[in-house]
Symmetry: none
Subunit: 596 residues, 2 copies
DNA sequence: AAAGAAGGTCACTAGGTCAG
DNA sequence: CTGACCTAGTGACCTTCTTT
């Protein structure tokens, strides 16, 4: 089973009490059949998030989305990176439960896929909620995310005054925040990654979308003409977590992505290009975690792609990214240097020897985005400690089934959020009509999750993000044996893949052109995009994997339908509460009566 | 499969040879009475870092009650303490279903509280306790007394700055800052304990609030990949007084609390999270009456009481009694304290005139453990952003009630785990029969939670860990008005207490001897333990608080019964928690604009 | 104006130092 | 080796200045 190899880190575990916010079983769901639906996934969380803005993802008119949620807190060290910022308060009241429909529905609004008004329209059916995850995302590094991209306009005079501490800030911030919150949709925070390190960008600095840290670093570097030296081989990976470990490589990366004194752009962003940014940005925003190969510091080689926006006419399909040069995802990193490397790095090289050729821009973006959003990347699951689940077989099978299904659903829910964030950054996705975007998410999330979670599987078990480990028998209870077999069969084929490859596979899955009801145009576009991704994924036996994956997704959809129909009968009490509070497990018989 | 890989920092560590001795299991939950168990919760790994999200800002609580702010929140790597190591994951198959019954079982064995403590008297440096106060001798390193405690107070102009421009316009700021130092600080020094050893922390190093010593030690450890070995069993207690006795265990503790190169946070601390100053401040504020004591802000350091139980073999003198031996301090009893004694330390010195005695070992342990496990400590909550809850009153009251109850229950559930972790480390608890342990947890969790969450309350609202803020009206819906009043009344009395004092109160609550059905022996032991804790908590008006707390706990139990009985009837209606919770208040329209 | 970026500020921390 | 200090950075905010 699982071995946790590194001792130390994992070690502490037991004692540590970390509580994961969600607790192990924390789901509570309840539903009724009466037609209503389900929000199965809802329950959790909740928190507001905020940010956002315009992300460009959509044309939005208004923002308040309804279902937004975001999470707020965390308690635990989980690692994730997301950066959300939050606060908001906003959000509109949600409409009543959606009518029937899918189990997981993603309401575009809440997700942020669209900007448009949210809930209302979609209302009809969908809803999912993303947001709350139990697992919260946390950020590492301790750093807090920068306030927001947008700085509030007004500024206050020094907040610094010490003492008042809280009070002062509040107002200033409060106001601004509030404002932000508004639009913010919950989960969507438009997150623009720093091209240099991947952290949250604060704007366009020296010609590049970058974070405060890299901006300041670059400024200092050029002002003081500092000369840096790399203690290793000049190929250090530059990502948020280790950007301060090698100035030489950081600066080189800055230059590589185009930072330059001449690239500065002052003043407000040209209005119309704004939109373009979205898509364009998506392309280029890619931060690729690879080490900077090009340009040596000192030389200004990398000229800023286009300094200014305008150009951008890139087509969605075609991505002309300038970034290309850097993208080599799978870094074969040469230097073993112990510490330095970031795990991702190592891992990839480790696992597979394959040297993938350079990826297409889209593929590169997919990979990068995956690393940022997937909750199962090596880096993020590093310290998850598996916990076996033991069930009492004497219990009603149905009850167990529901519990397990709920646990899995919750897990998937968590993933859905990252899938959405992921999707939002894929040009081939964002350029589609919203309805189609929803279709892709709704029909593809299981497949994507299955790919995401693959690294967490062994031949007979799968470990969820909170450590809960389910084996074949458990899955047999939830699904059918045949389904379980297919699933594990698939997992066995891809569980050793690198995060990069999994990223491509999940991306290809998301962009499946063969989903029902897509518009013809979308189908065409998707075909193109998917092929682009698949081309970068040169694995020999890909075809069977893809078909297996699709079959699994379809089967899961049917299973979902079953649960949808029988949910009410199955579930009445949130399993967890029952345990904790000694609430009688309702269910059938007895319970019908008692009520008074 | 799982790869737990540690990235650099952690990695090295692992390499450094920490082997994990054996696995211990932390605790298992068993649900059925029939003895079977299920281990749902087991170990969690610690993750390296966590961060938080959010920004918070002001607390918007419902009514803007004046008091408003709740603790800020931050997320942080929680950590656990040392000891456990663990790894294994296996578990035997167990049957039980969760249905009714007990919740938690703590196997004492698993807990590592036993002896291990190193200290024993022998070593050369120990400190001596004189009449209660203790003097520690021993310190290594450059022992100068630290120059200045807080950095915050004065700011220096630094001449050093390379950057040149020194003169700025901002002088204003400079002045203001300066002031801070004055009185205020003199008496108030917020004492932040090192998460590793309990000494005074000098900042946030490698992702953890830690002292200069531990920072330097950790740095050296990862720089040269030193391999350490424990001469004992790998469970040495790590506290200031003996932190240098076992490098292996010290390093292990460092990792356990989350130190990692990946968790480094540079730069200024985001304003919002500015802490509210610690306990010291809180204390101070409460000066009103009674509470003189303050003392121990931060408290912590744990002393190893050790033992309890058996183990104790360590010491030379035979120790017969379990916990007893340690009791020393507080009462001035001179006890021999075999173990290190520890008493501890740090805190006290400050100037407040009061001489609070040092905490008893048990009390000290309680506090330290609390800081580690409670999810609402200042440090952890620093960045939680309150979100108001808006309900649609048109909704069925019952539905809302169920939803709110569930939300609260979920919150408590999260806390239960930490309570358990907390309990596991309290000798007075672990030495009890398991049945009694269960009784204490089940009957006490609400009271404990109420104490835990106190800092998150204002006079009219309570903010949960995810930011969701409930006001009196909301609680009135769930409970009865009378109950709500009692609860807020209690909260108003203790919400400003320091984490240390809350730790003691919750510990005393956990160890209540008057729970029903406890064995006589347990009652006796608990009485002793509880008194020991209460003695350290010298607050004048403690008695009414204790009785209120007990009454509230009882009332909550009755409410639970009600829910238990009516649950089926209530819940079949999908509460749609999410629906409700994600709906924050209506919003303020004004902001709507800017969005795009 | 308003939006948005360069630069400046200065609260903070990794590391290096060197008595102890 | 340890750890109190010091130094070179770092980056969250803020101010000043540009451009739409
Ligand atoms: Zn950056
Ligand atoms: Zn380098
Ligand atoms: Zn320390
Ligand atoms: Zn040791």
């Amino acid at each position: 089973m699982f071995k946790v190899e590194s001792s130390s880190a994992a070690t502490s575990s037991s004692s540590s009490g970390l509580t994961i916010p969600s607790s192990n079983f924390d789901f509570e769901l309840s539903f009724c059949d009466d037609g209503t639906t389900e929000d199965l996934f809802d329950s959790f969380a909740t928190s507001p998030s905020a940010m956002d803005s315009t992300s460009g993802l959509e044309s939005s008119t208004d923002n308040n989305s309804a279902g937004g949620v975001v999470r707020g807190i965390k308690i635990e060290p989980s690692s994730d990176d997301d950066q959300s910022e939050v606060m908001s308060t906003e959000v509109s009241p949600a409409p009543p439960p959606p009518p029937q429909d899918n189990l997981v529905v993603v309401s575009s609004s809440s997700i942020g896929l669209d900007g448009s008004n949210p809930s209302t329209s979609s209302s009809s059916n969908n809803k999912i909620i993303m947001g709350g995850s139990l697992i919260s995302s946390t950020r590492q590094g301790g750093e807090d995310s920068p306030k927001n991209m947008d700085k509030s306009s007004g500024n206050k005079l020094n907040a610094t005054s010490s003492s008042g501490s809280i009070s002062n800030n509040n107002n200033a911030i409060g106001n601004s925040v509030k404002k932000e919150g508004v639009f913010a949709d919950s989960n969507n925070k438009s997150f623009h990654p720093c091209r240099v390190c991947g952290d949250k960008a604060s704007g366009y600095h020296y010609g590049v979308t970058s974070c405060e840290g890299c901006k300041g670093f670059f400024r200092r570097s050029i002002q003081k003409q500092i000369e840096y030296r790399c203690l290793r081989d000049g190929k250090c990976l530059v990502i948020r977590l280790n950007r301060n470990r090698c100035q030489y490589c950081r600066f080189k990366k800055c230059l590589a992505v185009g930072m330059s004194r001449d690239s500065v752009r002052y003043g407000r962003v040209p209005k119309r290009s704004r939109e373009v940014i979205t898509s364009a940005e998506a392309d280029q925003s890619s931060f690729d975690g690879t080490s900077p190969h090009s340009g040596s510091p000192g030389s200004n080689s990398g000229s800023p792609p286009s300094t200014t926006t305008e150009s951008a006419s890139t087509t969605n399909g075609g991505i002309v990214g300038s970034t290309v040069n850097n993208s080599t995802v799978n870094n074969n990193n040469t230097s073993p240097t112990s510490t330095v490397g970031v795990s991702e790095n190592n891992s990839s090289s480790t696992n597979s020897g394959k040297v993938s050729s350079t990826l297409s821009p889209l593929a590169s973006l997919v990979t990068q985005t995956h690393l940022t959003h997937c909750i199962y990347t090596q880096e993020k699951v590093r310290d998850v400690t598996p916990r076996k689940l033991t069930l009492d077989l004497k219990e009603h099978t149905e009850t167990i089934r529901v519990s397990l299904f709920s646990a899995l659903s919750r897990e998937m829910l968590i993933s859905v959020q990252s899938v959405v964030e992921f999707a939002k950054r894929i040009p081939g996705f964002t350029s589609l009509p919203q309805d189609d975007q929803l279709i892709l998410i709704k029909t593809g999330f299981f497949e994507i999750w299955a790919v995401y979670v693959a690294p967490m599987t062994t031949k007979d078990s799968v470990t969820l993000s909170d450590g809960l480990t389910l084996n074949r028998k458990h899955l047999d209870i939830v699904y059918e044996n045949e389904f379980t077999i297919s699933l594990f069969s698939l997992w066995s084929k891809i569980s050793k893949w690198t995060d990069s490859d999994l990223a491509l596979l999940s991306g290809a899955s998301l962009l499946s052109p063969q989903r029902h009801l897509l518009t013809n145009h979308s189908t065409i576009v998707l075909t193109h995009s998917q092929n682009q991704i698949l081309d970068s994924l040169n694995k020999s036996d890909l075809s069977p994997i893809l078909s297996d994956l699709r079959r699994i997704g379809t089967a899961h959809g049917e299973i979902l339908d079953w649960f949808r129909q029988h949910w009410n009968k199955l579930v009445c009490v949130p399993p967890l509460f029952a345990e904790i509070f000694d609430i009688p497990r309702s269910i059938e018989d007895e319970n019908m009566y008692n009520s008074s």
